[in-house]
Amino acid sequence: MDIMSTFVGLSSVLTGFAQDILAPRLDTTNIKTLYLQSWTENITQETGDAGLVNTILQQYAELQAAGKSDEEIGEQLMNGNNSPAFVLACQKLIFLWYMGAWPDVNAQPGTETGGFTTSSLLSAESYTSGLVWQVMQAHPMGDSNYRYGYWAEQPPALSDFTGN
C-alpha cells in the first residue's frame, strides 16, 4: 500500500467517511494530496517531531494489515496508549477534512467551554471540499449543485453522503 492509500485509509477511519468519498477513483479535485501535505507540514512544525506523521500512518497500516475493523482501529489510535501529541494530530486531521481549514486549538481544561478553536482555510477548494457540508446533508454555503426547490424536499440519505 502506498502512502496515499494509507493516508486515505486512516482518514476514513477517523472521519467516518468512506474512502471512495474522500478519494474517489476518478478524483477531480485531488484534495487528499493537499491535505496530506498540509497535515504533514503542520504537525511536523507544531510538534517538532518529524516522525510523528509516519508513526501514525504506520500504526494505522499495521492495524489494518492485522485485519482490524475500522472501529477497532479508531479505538486503538485514539483511545489506546498513544501520546497526546499523536491523538491531537489525528484530531487535527479530522478537523482538516471536515473544514478544509487548519485548526489552532486553545485547550482550557476545567473551564465551562474547555477552551476554543480558531482555524485558517487552506484554499477555496478546501473550503468547498469540507465534509462538514456533507455530514449535514447539505452543500458548502455558496456552492450548491442542487436545483430550485430542493430545500422543500428531504435530502438524500446520510449514507449517500458518507458512503458508509
Binding site: 502512502i3 477531480t28 496530506l36 436545483r147 426547490g149
Partner: protein, 438 residues
Amino acid sequence: MKNSTLLFSALPAALLLSACNTTATENKQATAGQAATTPLPVISPVIPADAQFHEPFSLESLQHDFDVFSWESFIALNWPAASVGVADTSVNIGQKPGAATVWQTYKESRDIFLPNGATPPPWGKDLPPPSVCGDQDLPVLNQIAKVPNNVLDESAEPFQTGPLVDQNGQYTRFEILTNDVMFNYIAEKNLYSKSGQEAFATEADFPFGTDSQVGSIMLKASWKVLGKNDAPEKFHTTKAYVYDNPDEHAGVKAACKLQTVGLVGFHIGTKLKGNPQWIWSTFEHVDNAPTQGEAINKKHYNYYKPDCTDCAAVNTPPPRPWNPGNAYTQPTQVMRVIPLDKPTKELNASYQAALEKLVPGSVWVNYELISTQWPTNADSKTDPTGAPAPAFLANTTLETYIQGTVRQTSSSCIQCHNNATMTSGKFSDFTYLLQRAQ
C-alpha cells in the same frame, strides 16, 4: 503491506509526497506517448452513438476517449449535408467549402419557440426570415434540397455577461440548434410553449442515445462577420441573415443584412447513454485568441490584437449601451484563461493532420477541440452534476467573460446547465432553450 510500511517509514514525508507526484506525471506521459504513436484517426461521416472506452480506466484515459468522441462528433456534424440531417457521403468533409453542414440543417431555436407559443413547423421546415430581411432568397449555396434560412439573431452571451466584438468592431453572432431527437421530444411534449410547459407534470428528460442510436444533441455556434483582415479561406463560412434583434437589448432597432460569416466557436451537447449530465464538447477556430501564459505568436487573431496599448482590458466586455447595430464597437481583447491540456493538443494535431491528408487545404484544420466535459460520477446520489471533469470549461467565443476556475461562477457546462429550467420553474434537463418558450 509490511514492505511498503517499512519503505515509507524510512523516508521523510516531503520526499514521499514528491514521489507520489512523480507517479502521476509518469502516467500522463505514458498516455501522451501513446497518442503520438497511434496511426492517424479515421475520418467518418457517421455521428458516434457512444464513446469507446479503453481499459485501464483513469481520468486521463477517459478524457482521451471522450475527446475522441468529440472529434468524431464534430467531423460528422460538419460533414456536408445531402438533405436535412443527412450527410452527403459522396464527398469528404472539406471538399465543398461553404456548403451547408449536417448540423446547419438542424432546427434553430428561433424556429422552435414562436410568438404566443405557436406550434413550430415540423422537422425540416423553417420559418421565413424576419420581414426586415426582405424577401430576398438566400442564394443557392449548394445542391441540397433544403436551403436553410440562416438567421443569426443573437449577439449576447448568456446572463448578460456581454457581447463579443471582433477586430473589425462587429458583434459576434450566435445560434442554438437541436437535432431531430431533441426537437421531436420538444414538439411531442408541447414544450415549445409556456402553456405546454405549465401542463407538463414532470421534469424534462430528453432521449438518451443507445449503443447504436444517436440521442439528443444540442449545438451552439458562434460566427463572425468576415471582413477586413479576415482570410475567408481559413473559415467554414456561410451566408446568413445577420439580424439585429430589438428584443435583445433596449434601444436595438430591427435591421438585417445578408452577410458572409465564418464559424469561430462550436459547442456540442450530447445525451450519451449513462450520462444524464450530457457530454459537452467545445471547439474553436485556432486563431481566436492567445492563451494566458503561452506565447503570443500569431500576427492576427480573431479576438485579440497583439502589442496593443489602447485596447480594452483583457476579457472585458464593451461598455453599455450594447447594440449589435452599431457601425463600430471597440473590439474585445480576448485571451484564453485555461490552457489546453497537452494530450488534447496532441489529439488535435492528429485529427488536423488526418483532415489535411483527406482533403489538402481543408478549412477544418483550422479548428481545435478545447476539451470535453463529462461526469466522473454520473450516478452520484448527492451531486446531480456528477463531478465533472475537467471541472471548468469555456469557449472563448461563447463564455468569453466567465473563463476561470472559481466554482459556480466560472464557466462549467454541466454545473451551469444543471440549473436550467423551463418557464414553469421545473428542471429542463440541462438546456436553457426551454425557457425561451412564450
